[in-house]
Structure formats: C-alpha cells, structure tokens
C-alpha cells in the first residue's frame, strides 16, 4: 500500500515515468470516448430505432427479443408513396416553415435592432419579455387563436399555422437579434450616418450585413420550430394543408398503415431538418451562445 502511494504521488522519472504518463493519458482518452459513445447512444438510439423500423419486415418490428440483424425491405417506402401524397405533405411543411420564418425575420430583425439601439434602460427588460413569450405553453395560446382564425376565415389554411408560429418565433428572433446587434459595434452605423445615410439606409446597408450570422441562426431556429410543430398544425390545418409532422402522427391506425410505414415516413420528416443542421450547425451553435454574452 505504502509503495503504491509513493509510486502514485512521486514525480515520475526516466522512461518508466514517461511510459506511466502516456498510459494515464491513454486511459483518460479511453474514458472520454466511452462517455461520448454512451451519451450519443442515449440520444441517437431512439432515432436510429425509429428509422430502422422502416427497413424491417413487420414480424421483425415486433420480435422479442428485438432483432438486430434482419433482411432489409423497401416495402415500407412503397407503402408511403401508396398511402400518402408525399409531395403535398412536404410542400405544406415547406410553405409553413418558410412562411413563418420569413415573416418572423421581417418583423423580428428590425425590432431587435430598435431595442438594441434604444436609449432607454428598460430595453433589456423588453428583450427578455420577448424571450418569455416563447416560453408560454403553446397549448395555452391555441384555443383563443383557433377561435380567432375561425372568425376571420383563415382556419384550415396555411396562414393560420404561419401566423401563430410567427407570433412565437418572432419573439425569439427579437431576443436573439437584440443580442447580435448589441455585440455589433455602433461606430460603423455612426460612420454610415456621417457618410450620408439616413436611419433606414444605415440599417439596411451597414447594420444588417454585420449580423448576417445572427440572421442565419435565427432562421435556423424558426425553420426548426415550425417544421417540427405538431400541435398548431394538427388543429389549425385540414387534410389538404396539413404538413408532414401531422401526417406522421395522425396516420397510424388508418388505412392499414403500419409502424414500418411510419418509420419510412419519418425519414422524410427528420432528414431535411438534420441535413440543414449539418450544413449550418456553425450558426446554430453561435446563436445558442450569443444570448449568454
């Protein structure tokens, strides 16, 4: 025991010491990698399980114990094309996501700028109030919004979902762009003012280009929230305007649709958003950390 303590606590010397250090380093790397694999498994296994059902014959999906090796089949994908109007579902999702993203940016970016440059102390409080709007449980807003949309004749249209998503996403955009504009130097805008620009031109030609990463990050969040939205789309659209997220969850049990078919449909619901994240994750991470600064 005593020997072990001396060996552990003493300063390593010569090649034996170096070897010991190398071994400790290798062990530390091993621990870290195992930790990463465990964490990845926790987050990715449910998704991989869902996607793998798309390639399994029905008997393998319900097999106990679960089968890891199976002969893949494309039949679930054939069912997707047979039972769903996939282009229409995707088009709905795209229209709703892009529509609410564009509207949120059009309203939220100038509002964030105005707050960032406002000369009153309560501006920070207002910015946080906007963030708080995003934390309101969606279901609490659904019923009054449903009635409102019904009364003005927009229920069942894309507009209904676009508008309610915009109201929530826009609040988030205001808060995020407020942080971006605050960290962008005001002196370049002052330079533009003395160079002959009015306020609008300063905003459009100098302030906006300086926060392009922030606008991209905001757009990613908006697209993500709207694409993944189920609740609003479920209650505010009808059969012809529903997006893929609604089709995915509401189709089970109808028209002889199986779990395998839903797994195949899930590909079309999740892959676009995952691909977007893969390409633009730099902006996504930047957006997440900006508010902290």
């Amino acid at each position: 025991m005593a020997r072990a303590i001396v060996r552990g606590g003493g300063v390593p010397s010569g090649s034996a010491g170096k070897q010991g250090m190398r071994r400790a380093e290798a062990r530390s790397i091993l621990y870290r990698r195992v930790a990463v694999i465990v964490i990845l498994a926790v987050f990715l296994l449910p998704l991989l399980w869902l996607l793998s059902t798309a390639y399994k014959p029905t008997r393998d999906i319900f097999a106990t114990p679960p089968t890891l090796l199976f002969s893949p089949t494309w039949s679930n994908f054939t069912s997707v094309f047979r039972y769903f109007d996939l282009p229409e579902l995707l088009w709905s999702s795209i229209v709703i996501s892009l529509g609410s993203t564009v509207l949120s940016l059009l309203l939220g970016v100038p509002a964030g700028y105005a707050l960032a440059r406002a000369k009153f102390r309560g501006a920070v409080g207002v910015a946080y109030f906007f963030l708080a709007i995003r934390t309101v449980p969606p279901v609490a807003t659904l019923i009054p919004f449903y009635i409102l949309m019904r009364d003005i004749g927009l229920l069942g249209t894309w507009w209904a979902v676009i508008l309610i998503n915009t109201s929530l996403n826009c609040a988030f955009v205001v808060w995020m762009m407020y942080a971006y504009f605050r960290s962008s130097p005001i002196s370049i805008e002052e330079a533009a003012l003395t160079d002959g620009c009015n306020d609008w031109r300063t905003f459009l030609t100098v302030a906006l280009p300086a926060v392009v990463p922030g606008i991209i990050a905001s757009a990613i969040f908006c697209v993500m929230f709207s694409w993944n939205d189920f609740l609003f789309a479920m209650f505010l659209t009808r059969a012809e305007t529903k997006p893929i997220s609604v089709a995915l969850l509401s189709a089970y049990g109808t028209k002889d649709i199986s779990w395998g078919t839903l797994g195949a449909l899930a590909h079309f619901s999740t892959l676009p958003i995952i691909l977007m994240m893969l390409f633009l994750n730099r902006y996504f991470v930047q957006g997440l950390t900006k508010g902290v600064n």
Binding site: S187, I188, E190, A191, L193, T194, D195, G196, N198, P209
Partner: protein, 397 residues
Amino acid sequence: MAKIRFEDVSKIYADGVPAVDRLDLDVEDGQFLVLVGPSGCGKTTALRMIAGLEDISSGRLMIGGEVANDLAPRARNVAMIFQSYALYPHLTVAENMGFALRVRGQPRAEIESRVKRAAELLELQPYLGRKPAQLSGGQRQRVAMGRAIVRQPAAFLMDEPLSNLDARLRGQTRAEITRLQRDSGVTTVYVTHDQVEAMTMGDRVAVMNHGRLQQVGAPRELYDRPVNLFVATFLGSPPINAVEGRLRAEGKAVSLDLGGSVISLPAETVRQRPALARYHDRTLVIGFRPEALALGSAEGRSLRGTVAYREDLGSHLLFHIDSEAAPVRDPSAVVALGEGEEKALSGDGKAGRLRLNAPAGVALRPGEQVFVTVDPAQLHFFDPATGDALYADSTAN
C-alpha cells in the same frame, strides 16, 4: 471648408452630469484644432456634437455660419475618423472609401477616380480589393483616413485616430495626418488625450477638464503661459514640477522660500506678474518645468534633495528627486488629475517630488544627495486654492 463655432454649448446627461459645460470655442476655416484632456473631460462628446451624433442640451453650434444643432449628421458634410476606425467589415477597401460617394449618388467613374487618387496618396493601391479584416492596424487607419479624404468634406473630425497604433507607427502617422491637413486645408478638429499629439499637430490646442474649456491657444503659448495648474501639469512630458513656496518681500526685493532654500526673483519676473503683490508672506504653488532645473552645487538658488530613482531614456536621464520643498498639499483639489498622476506630482506626499533631465553621462544613484538649481525666469506661480496662474492683477488672464 467651414468655420465651426460653439456658443455656450452644454451637454447634460439624464443623471444631471454635464459632459460639456458651457463651451465657447471657435475653429477657424482651415484650422487644425486639437481638443485635449483626460478621459471623461468632454472632448469626444464635443466632437460628436459637431458630427451630429450627440444631442446638444443647450447653446448653439454653428457650422459654416449655419446653426447645426438639429441638422442630421448626413446634412453636415463632415467626415469623421473613429478611434476604432469603424470600417464597414463586409465591404472592400475600395468600397469603404467610395461608400459616402455612392450614397450621394455620384457617378461610378467619378467614385473610382477619387478612390484611386486617395489610395495613391495613402499608398493603399495594393489593398483596394481586400476586406478590413485582412489589413493591419496601420493599414486600417489609412483606409479610415482615405474614406474621409475621398469625400472632400467641409471638416475632418478625428477621434483619437492614433490610439490603437504602436509607438513607432503613431509617430509616423502623426506626421502624415499633419501633412495631409496642411495640403488639403480642410478645417480639422482632432481629439486626443496624448499631450505629445496636442503639442505637435495642431495650429491651436484647446485643453478641457470636467467638461469645461480650460484654455485655448497655440501649443507654445499653452506650454509657456498656462492659465492654471491643470493646463500646466497636463501639457509637457515629463510633467511640470509643482511644489509649495512662500513669497517674501523686503523692500523691492522679492524672494521665494522653498523650505530651506531661498530664491530671489528677478525684477523682470515680478514686474510681469503684478498679481504676485497680493501673495506676499503667503503660500502659493510654484511650477517649473524639468528643463528649468539643473544639477548644481550647495550655493545660492540651490534646492537640496535626494535621488528617489532614475530613468534611462537613452538620449538623456530623467531623475526623480525628493526635495526639501513642500509638496502641493491637496493636488487633487487643484489639479484634478488621476490617482497615478497625483502621485507623480507630489511623490510620497512628504517631500516635493521634482523631475530633472540630465545628460546621459551623469552618474547619480538612488539615495544620493544632490543640489538642484532653479532658473527663476522660468517659474510659474499658481493660487493654492483655485489653481489659477498668477500673471496680471486679475487671478488669471
């Protein structure tokens, strides 16, 4: 070109603190005026008022004979160079320089030719296609200069444009800016806290402190005839020596008791400063610049002291000497300097700290006793309560 005039202009913030307090100042057409003072003295606020980036609480600002209080920045035709340069990060050097012309709808050929001319003047041709992030600090500074020159404005406003450059480049750029201003003849207001820039660049220097204009005049005038102890201590490097002394009069002969050594004042010095008559047998603050001091022997006008430390500046030595003269008792009340500057002025508070330039060969070590002679013709006298310089019969002129 334009004349700029502040008429009783104030800027008071919401908390009631005046950033600029009743400023009266004229910048003549084509003049190079340096606004100098410590941090927070209001010099940048005054500059931003000219640019239209800061509201004016009261008073009148005239640019080119017109009241400009409520004119939008774009309507003032002034070009500002910012401390951070404020280059547009998404535009190339050429686009940065031509931005103001593009905004004003100038023809493309005209923009290109003016940008080209300015780039030649500032040796920026190789960088015209680059973005600001790809440039060094000195190059960015030149682009900021170029952006201002291209516009051919009525006035240049420069807010500490050299503060981000290293010492060597600063010296070089200082000369360049002065030359460009002389060549173009454009009215220029230049803000700095660096007294070397103030002394070397401007036709006139305006010293500010606590939002108030202390003195305005030619650099030499401010150096030789400061109106108060603040101006005397702010200009000059190393700063002026300030100690307390007592004025004694015996008949027509006036002498100065500096705590042990008595210096008789030349009749000319006394004649030029009638105000001194009111201070006989009273304590006042005496200022003398390092060049008014010399190492001497234990006779007549010598002050005794001990070398506190020495700085080898290459060309010469700077000695800090704790003398027998009394330090200024309340330098903060009189001088309003920062904490470090106060200490430099008064030493440890027990002895009157003096600074003295000596040739490089002088072999004096810390702790050694020395005798210092003072040139009485180069003395400055200040009221100990107000800090005002004593010249004519009024407290200051």
